[in-house]
């Protein structure tokens, strides 16, 4: 088991190197000389050269790549060209925002999807189950940002029950914080829940045909009772995979939702600095998002081993 985990970690590290190289190469193609753009019009060649030296953009690409990677290993993502501050200092304050948005969205989507998915599995031939499946199918097709726009207009402006946008830090006002996250979380979670319901349903349909479920039913457990007692743990294996994928897609969805609700998260940071073509910030944020996705994948694989003892010795 330890060998499996170690092997997985090695692959994870190699993946990070590959991803960082890919990101760096793409960012090299950014048109325009950062020094020139920063200085504005009328800058002399001498001024531009001095600025390029100050930014370090006059060094060979390989040196810049290695410096960047070496810095990241120490938690230093370099210095923003446009604002002259540490990229990690820009990223830091955005993490609680995007983290809370993504985390709560995942939580809420699971809370919605589990009961409805189980219902859809148990009653799959009755109207309730069909209705749940149909609603989920439609929900999957709705762009999260559209849901966000509609929620913001209805709850925020027409009915005025929740703030239509904006972010209040937890430390400033915990209730305001919760209220400011409510609509964005709902917008993301509803759409994700629709995706999740389908997976929950199929995972539990599998369970329904298993011997242990039938046995439990035979000895007198109710259908829901048997599902909850035996089904959840057994279905969790396939659900963990799905949750991993979900979290990745929630992170990306958060980029757009942050725009709709003007949240100062990682996505807003990325888009702001894409407009300014600030390579260091773009590289850093994308690397962080990719790192998150790779990490989630790795954790999902490791968790298989933990959940299912049969896999502990098996090769994948």
């Amino acid at each position: 088991m330890i060998a499996t985990v170690a092997r997985r970690l090695g692959v994870f590290a190699l993946s990070l190197v590959g991803a960082s190289l890919a990101i760096f190469i793409i960012c090299q193609a950014l048109p325009g000389d950062p020094a020139r753009i920063l200085l504005g019009d009328g800058a002399s060649a001498e001024q531009i050269a001095a600025k390029a030296h100050e930014l370090g953009t006059d060094r060979p690409a390989i040196v810049r790549y290695l410096t960047w990677v070496a810095g990241m290993l120490r938690g230093d993502f370099g210095t923003s060209y446009a604002s002259g501050v540490a990229v990690s200092g820009l990223i830091g304050p955005t993490l609680p925002v995007t983290g809370a948005l993504a985390g709560f969205s995942l939580l809420v989507s699971v809370v919605i999807a589990l009961p409805f998915g189980m219902l859809a599995a148990l009653r799959r031939r009755r109207w309730e189950g069909v209705a749940v499946s149909a609603v989920a199918q439609v929900g999957m097709a709705i762009p999260a940002f559209w849901a966000g726009i509609l929620l913001s207009i209805l709850f925020g402006v027409v009915w005025r029950v929740l703030p239509p946008n904006g972010y209040i830090p937890l430390t400033t006002d915990p209730i305001g914080w919760a209220r400011s996250l409510a609509l964005p979380v709902l917008a993301l979670a509803l759409v994700q829940a629709a995706v999740l319901v389908r997976y929950v349903r199929s995972a539990f349909i599998d369970v329904l045909s298993e011997d242990y479920y039938r046995t439990a039913r035979a000895v007198g457990w109710s259908r829901w009772g048997a599902l909850l007692r035996h089904g959840v743990r057994n279905a969790s294996l396939s659900l963990v995979t799905v949750l991993g994928l979900q979290l990745a897609s929630i992170l990306v969805g958060a980029i757009v939702i942050e725009q709709v609700f003007v949240l100062p998260g990682l996505g807003s940071l990325l888009l702001t600095y894409v407009r300014q073509k600030d390579v260091m910030v773009i590289q850093g944020v994308v690397m962080l998002l990719v790192l998150a996705v790779l990490l989630i994948n790795a954790l999902v694989e490791v968790s298989y081993v933990l959940i299912d003892p049969r896999l502990r010795t098996a090769e994948r």
Binding site: L39, G40, G42, V85, N165, Q259, K277
Partner: protein
């Protein structure tokens, strides 16, 4: 000298402008700071309610640095000019010069030597007095430092020397008379910072204004707090927060929800109707310095021909454009001049809307079946205007391919630096930016020695000849269809009804909160 002055103002949106606008206007009425021009008697403390008083101003573009002179963006100046950093003189809401750090000033008879008499009470937030020597160091920094943005150094290029005669008397010598220089001294290029903090301007406050930096939450807001050492009437608010909304609809929603006090400039004018209730909201509509300009690349093969440029100008229905993109707000203009400029005259009749004549000119020029590369800045007003312009051009037989340029970086690179475009749209928010047409390297690629000569003559002219001479220069541009000036961006401000004291015009880079009060 003047030729290098690049007043680039690609400031993002109207925000800049907008903000700016509000600023000054009302100064004369109630400005605590400017009233000190008469002197001295510093700080009659105003009575504050016991609860902390906060003013929240919604703005669009967040600065990337606090250093107002680091680059061309005006976002740092919106927050800080007049509020955190003061200038020797100040431009009021009508565009006139007023005393600020200088109580008065005089000009030599050959108009090349300016003597400023500083207010002896003035001091920086650090407690150090604002001496003539400190001011001289600031002027020297702007015109010689390598780290200062080119447009600010260019504005000071006419200065040959600055000398502290005594602790409160400063003498500045110019290489030739210049009518525009003193206006520059009243704007961002004239900022006066504590020389001890020159290397920390990007992150700290070192000004003499009524407010200073409290907290900058990147991606969200900049909070100013009252400067306890302010030398004149102190600020009315314990805290002034500039909150940034990249999206205009989000800004409107925040106003509806009551979380902000002022929309510094309304970017979605169609939404103004939701603020029609005068018991709750106040609407101000005034002037800005921003000319929303359809830039023509005068060096591109098709647009070298005067007839083609005139045809483009005549193809565009500017009134309809304002109706469709600004919900009818804004003023049609005919040259790179706005109504608050001292040399304004209505030139919108030159090359005015006449599609039939436009088609005829295109035929005469042999330019039928023209396709132009149209690269507007990806800003809300510019994107909307570009589509309307494309429709108008299509109607006279000119095809366009629109490619929005992300602002600022992509636009600056493709249009501003490389001039790789035929048409573009961006707002030029800087005051008195007629000067850009004297620079053949500027992205208009406009090279007309007759215009440059006229402009320089006007700048050097006696004060009373300044406006008439500059009018002639503006008319040369209009006749030449050097660009198509679509409209003056309106300064549309929405405030809670409890907010008073805002100027309706935006005449500098600043969003001046020193005149604002709340009931």
């Amino acid at each position: 000298m003047v030729t290098r002055t690049p007043h680039a103002r690609f400031f993002p949106r109207r925000l800049a402008v907008a903000l700016t606008a509000l600023t000054l206007a009302a100064i004369s009425a109630c400005s605590p700071a400017s009233s000190s021009s008469t002197g001295s008697s510093a700080g009659t403390p105003t009575v504050h309610a016991p609860a902390a008083k906060t003013l929240t101003v919604a703005a669009t573009a967040e600065p990337s640095t606090l250093d107002m002179t680091a680059g061309p963006a005006v976002a740092p100046a919106q927050v800080q000019l007049y509020n955190v950093y003061e200038t020797l003189v100040k431009i009021d809401g009508d565009g006139a010069l007023q005393p600020l750090l200088a109580q008065r000033w005089s000009v030599s008879t050959d108009r090349t030597v300016y003597t400023f008499y500083l207010n002896p009470a003035s001091k920086f937030a650090s407690g150090e007095p604002v001496t003539a020597d400190a001011v001289a160091k600031n002027i020297e920094r702007i015109r010689t430092s390598k780290t200062v943005g080119a447009k600010y150094s260019a504005a000071m290029a006419v200065v040959t020397g600055e000398k502290a005669v005594d602790s409160s008397t400063l003498e500045v010598t110019l290489s030739r008379p210049s009518n525009t220089w003193l206006y520059s001294m009243a704007d961002t290029a004239g900022m006066i910072a504590d020389p001890a903090s020159f290397d920390k301007l990007g992150t700290e406050s070192a000004g003499s204004g009524p407010y200073m930096l409290d907290k900058w939450t990147r991606g969200d807001s900049i909070a100013l707090k009252r400067n306890p050492n302010y030398w004149a009437n102190p600020g009315r608010f314990d805290s002034v927060v500039f909150k940034y909304f990249p999206d205009p609809n989000a800004m409107n929603a925040a106003m509806m929800a009551g979380t902000i006090d002022i929309i510094s400039n309304e970017q979605a004018p169609d939404a103004l109707s939701q603020f029609a209730d005068t018991a709750k909201y106040t609407l101000l509509e005034g002037a800005t310095n921003m000319e929303v300009t359809l830039g023509l690349n005068n060096s591109s093969p098709a647009l070298k021909d005067l007839k083609v440029r005139q045809a483009i100008a005549m193809a565009i229905d500017k009134k309809k454009l304002i109706t469709n993109t600004e919900a009818g707000h804004g003023t049609v203009i005919g040259s790179m001049v706005v109504p608050t400029d001292p040399y304004y005259e209505d030139l919108s009749g030159i090359n005015a809307y006449d599609p039939a004549k436009a088609k005829q000119l295109l035929t005469e020029a042999g330019a039928t079946n023209l396709t132009l590369r149209f690269k507007p800045a990806a800003l809300p007003y510019a994107t909307a205007a570009a589509q309307q312009v494309a429709a108008d051009l299509k109607a006279v037989g000119i095809n366009t391919t629109i490619q929005e340029q992300q602002f600022p970086a992509a636009w600056v690179d493709a249009v501003y630096i490389k001039a790789d475009y035929d048409l573009t749209i961006v707002g030029h928010a800087e005051a008195r930016d007629l000067v850009t047409y004297t620079n053949p390297e500027y992205y208009w690629r406009y090279n007309n020695p007759a215009f440059t000569a006229q402009y320089q003559a006007a700048d050097s002219a006696a004060a009373d000849a300044y406006a008439p001479e500059m009018k002639k220069a503006a008319k040369i541009l209009a006749d030449d269809a050097a660009s198509v000036w679509l409209y003056m961006m309106p300064n549309l401000v929405v405030t809670k009804a409890t907010v008073t004291g805002l100027s309706k015009n935006a005449t500098t880079d600043s969003f001046d909160v020193t005149t604002i009060a709340t009931r």
